[in-house]
C-alpha cells in the first residue's frame, strides 16, 4: 500500500545539513497496524509526514498504491491526501473557531458533496467515536480525550484507507490513551490501515509490528 524505497530526508540551512532520515526502505501493506518508535528527534514524525505526502523526500521514492508520489503537483497531492489519507495529530489541531461538527466536516469541504451529505457523514463519524452529544460544542469546551476523539472523527469522516497518527495519545493520560487506542483498534479491525508514531511501548505492543528508528536510520 505504502512503499518507501531508499528514502532520505535532509534539512539544509546556510551552513548546516541535517539528515533527518537516511535510506529508509519500508512497506506498509493494506490492513496493517504499524507502530513507529524511537527516541525524540530520530525522524519518526518526518517519516510519517513523508508517508502522508505532507513533505517530499530529498532522495528515494514514495509510492502509494503503486503510484509514485514524487514530483506530483500541489493539487494532485491535495486530492490524494483528501481521498486516501486521514491524519491524527498529537496536538489535535482542531480549529478553535469552529464547532465540533464543523471541524469534522473539514475534509469533506474539499469534495463534491451537498451540505446535507456532509453533515450526515460528520454526525456518523462523531457517533463512531462516541461524541454525538457534543456536536455543537467548541474544542475549548472539551477535555483532551474528547478533543482527540473529535480529531479521529475528522480523520475518518472521509473514509480514508490509511490513517496516520502522530503520537495520538501523547497529550493524554493513560486511561484516555487506552480509550483512543481502543478506537484505533476498532478502525483497524474494520480494515483501515494504520501507521502510528508512539513513545509508549504498551501501545506499540498492541500493533501488528513496530518499526524502530535511531538517528534517522531504520534499526528494526
Amino acid at each position: 500500500m505504502i512503499h518507501l524505497d531508499q528514502v532520505s530526508k535532509m534539512y539544509r540551512t546556510d551552513r548546516i545539513e541535517t539528515t533527518a532520515l537516511d535510506n529508509i526502505n519500508l512497506a506498509v501493506e493494506k490492513g496493517e497496524l504499524v507502530s513507529i518508535m524511537g527516541p525524540s528527534g530520530c525522524g519518526k514524525s518526518t517519516l510519517l509526514n513523508l508517508m502522508g505526502l505532507l513533505d517530499e523526500p530529498s532522495s528515494g521514492k514514495v509510492e502509494l498504491d503503486g503510484i509514485t508520489i514524487n514530483g506530483q503537483g500541489d493539487r494532485a497531492l491535495a486530492r490524494v491526501r483528501n481521498e486516501r489519507i486521514g491524519f491524527i495529530f498529537q496536538q489535535f489541531h482542531l480549529v478553535s473557531d469552529l464547532s465540533v461538527v464543523d471541524n469534522v466536516e473539514i475534509p469533506l469541504l474539499y469534495r463534491k458533496m451537498s451540505n446535507r451529505e456532509r453533515r450526515k457523514a460528520a454526525l456518523a463519524a462523531l457517533d463512531r467515536v462516541g461524541l454525538s452529544s457534543r456536536t455543537h460544542h467548541f474544542p475549548t469546551q472539551l477535555s483532551g480525550g474528547q478533543q482527540q476523539r473529535v480529531a479521529i472523527a475528522r480523520a475518518i469522516v472521509g473514509r480514508p484507507a490509511i490513517l496516520l497518527a502522530d503520537e495520538p495519545t501523547g497529550n493524554l493520560d493513560s486511561q484516555m490513551g487506552d480509550e483512543i487506542m481502543d478506537i484505533l483498534e476498532g478502525l483497524h479491525s474494520e480494515g483501515t490501515t494504520i501507521v502510528m508514531v508512539t513513545h509508549d511501548p504498551r501501545l506499540a505492543e498492541r500493533t501488528n509490528r513496530t518499526v524502530r528508528l535511531f538517528d534517522g536510520r531504520q534499526v528494526q
Binding site: L54, D55, Q91, V95, D97, Y110
Partner: protein, 418 residues
C-alpha cells in the same frame, strides 16, 4: 463550503477585536469619502430629474471668436445659436433643439423685502428636453414664447419665498420690473445641473430689448437632444461643419476670422469648465483616467494597512492552514478561502461606510452648501460602492492569501509562519 468560510471569517474577526476595528475603521472611512465623492459626481453628471435625458443631450456653452489681434470668449448669443445651430434640428439624429439663457440674478421686492432669484429665459422646447417634476401647473409652451406672453415657471423655494408656500398657480410675481403670471411650479433643480438650474424660468421673448436676437456672443446656451446616444458623434461633427459655415458670415470679419465651440456632453462641459487656459481641446478620457488613478491612490494606504494586518494573522492561523492542507485543501482553494474572508471584512466595512455616507450626504443636503442638492445613495452610487469594496477586498486579500496558502503544511502544523 462558503458557509464554513463565512463562519471562520466572522469568528476570526470577533477574536481579534482591535485589529478588526482598525481594519473596519480604515475601510469604512475610505469608502465613506469615495461614496460621497461618487454621489456628488452622480448628482452632477448622471441622468437625474429634470435632466433625465442628459446622456443623449449636447450643450453649446461657450463660443470663441478669434482674429490676428483679437479674441472674444463668452457664452454663445441667441443670434448665433438661432442661425447656425437651430438648423441641426433637421438632422435625423436630432430629436429637439432648445435655446436657454444662463441664469442671471433678478431682483424682486415682496412686502418691502428684497429677494434675489436666479432667472433663466428659455423657449418652449426647453421643457420638452427636460422632464421637470411639476408640483403645480405645467410648463410654458412654444406658443407662449412666440406670443411673448409674460408667464413664468418657478421652483418650490421661490413659491415659499413669494407666497409662503401657498399655491402659486395664476398668481403674479414681479421680477426686475416685469410682471409674470405663474403657470407652473417645479421641484427645486440642483445648482450643479448647470444647463437647467434656476429659481424661475420665463420665455426668452419677454426680454426687454430685442438686441439679443442678433448677438453672436451673449449669455445663451444651446441644447441638442439626440434620438440616441449613438447619434452624438454625428451631431458633433455636423455642429463643427455649421461653425465653418458661420465663420463665413462673422459680424466683424476684419477683427475675427475663426470660431471655436463644441457641442459637449455634460461631462465634457465640466472638463472644459475646469480646464485652465485654452479649452479648445480637452481630454475627457485622460480626466477619467486621472480620476480613476486618484481613487486608486486614495485606496492604496488603507489597502497596505489591511495587507499588513492580514500578513500578521498568518502566524495565528498557521495550525488551521496546516490542518486544511493535510486534509486536502490545495493552495488555490486556500487562496479562495482567505480572499472570501477578506471580502467579508471589506463588505462589513463597506456597509459601515454606506451608513456613514448616508449620514454625511443628508447633512450636506440640509447644509445648503450645494444649493438644492439632493445627494443620495441611489442604486448607481451603491453599485460604485460595491465595486470599490470588492476591488478593495480583492486587492488587499490576494497577496496575504497567496502567502498563507504557500505555507509548508509541516511547518504550519508546527505553528511556524515561515
Amino acid at each position: 463550503m462558503f458557509k464554513n468560510y463565512l463562519k471562520v471569517a466572522l469568528k476570526v474577526l470577533a477574536r481579534r477585536k482591535f485589529f478588526t476595528f482598525i481594519s473596519l475603521f480604515g475601510i469604512s472611512i475610505t469608502l465613506l469619502v469615495l461614496l460621497v465623492t461618487a454621489a456628488v459626481f452622480d448628482h452632477a453628471l448622471a441622468p437625474h430629474s429634470p435632466e433625465t435625458r442628459s446622456d443623449r443631450t449636447l450643450g453649446i456653452y461657450q463660443l470663441t471668436m478669434r482674429g490676428p489681434n483679437n479674441t472674444q470668449n463668452s457664452d454663445p448669443g441667441y443670434g448665433f445659436l438661432d442661425r447656425y445651430v437651430r438648423p441641426l434640428s433637421k438632422l435625423p439624429g436630432v430629436e429637439r433643439f432648445s435655446i436657454v439663457s444662463a441664469p442671471q440674478t433678478a431682483v424682486s421686492y415682496v412686502g418691502g423685502k428684497k429677494i434675489e432669484s436666479q432667472l433663466r429665459r428659455a423657449d418652449g422646447e426647453f421643457w420638452r428636453i427636460l422632464e421637470a417634476e411639476f408640483l403645480e401647473g405645467s410648463p410654458f409652451t412654444s406658443e407662449d414664447e412666440s406670443g411673448a406672453r409674460f408667464v413664468a415657471v418657478i421652483n418650490e423655494t421661490t413659491r415659499d419665498r413669494f407666497f409662503e408656500g401657498r399655491p402659486a398657480m395664476g398668481r403674479t410675481i414681479e421680477v426686475d420690473g416685469q410682471r409674470f403670471r405663474v403657470v407652473g411650479v417645479v421641484r427645486d433643480v440642483p445648482a450643479l445641473r448647470f444647463s437647467s438650474s434656476a429659481d424661475m424660468w420665463v420665455p426668452i421673448s419677454t426680454t426687454k430689448s430685442r438686441h439679443y436676437k442678433e448677438e453672436w456672443l451673449d449669455q445663451f446656451h444651446g441644447l441638442i437632444l439626440a434620438r440616441d446616444r449613438a447619434d452624438l458623434p454625428a451631431i458633433k461633427s455636423e455642429f463643427q461643419a455649421s461653425l465653418r459655415e458661420a465663420e463665413r458670415h462673422l459680424p466683424d470679419p476684419k477683427r475675427y476670422q475663426t470660431l471655436t465651440a463644441s457641442a459637449d456632453t455634460l461631462f465634457e462641459a465640466y472638463v472644459r469648465r475646469f480646464t485652465p487656459g485654452n479649452t479648445d481641446v480637452i481630454y475627457p478620457g485622460r480626466v477619467k483616467a486621472l480620476l480613476f488613478l486618484l481613487m486608486l491612490l486614495f485606496m492604496l494606504l488603507p489597502t497596505l494597512n489591511l495587507v499588513n494586518i492580514n500578513l500578521s494573522r498568518i502566524l495565528d492561523r498557521a495550525s488551521e492552514i496546516g490542518v486544511r492542507k493535510a486534509f486536502g485543501a490545495s493552495s488555490r482553494t486556500l487562496v479562495g478561502q482567505f480572499v472570501v474572508e477578506n471580502l467579508v471584512l471589506t463588505l462589513l466595512g463597506a456597509l459601515a461606510g454606506l451608513v456613514l455616507a448616508a449620514v454625511v450626504l443628508s447633512a450636506l443636503n440640509s447644509s445648503g452648501f450645494l444649493p438644492y442638492a439632493r445627494l443620495a445613495l441611489n442604486y448607481r452610487v451603491f453599485f460604485y460602492g460595491l465595486i470599490m469594496a470588492l476591488f478593495f477586498g480583492i486587492l488587499s486579500g490576494v497577496y496575504p492569501a497567496w502567502r498563507m496558502s504557500k505555507l509548508h503544511p509541516v511547518q504550519a502544523l508546527r505553528g511556524r509562519s515561515v
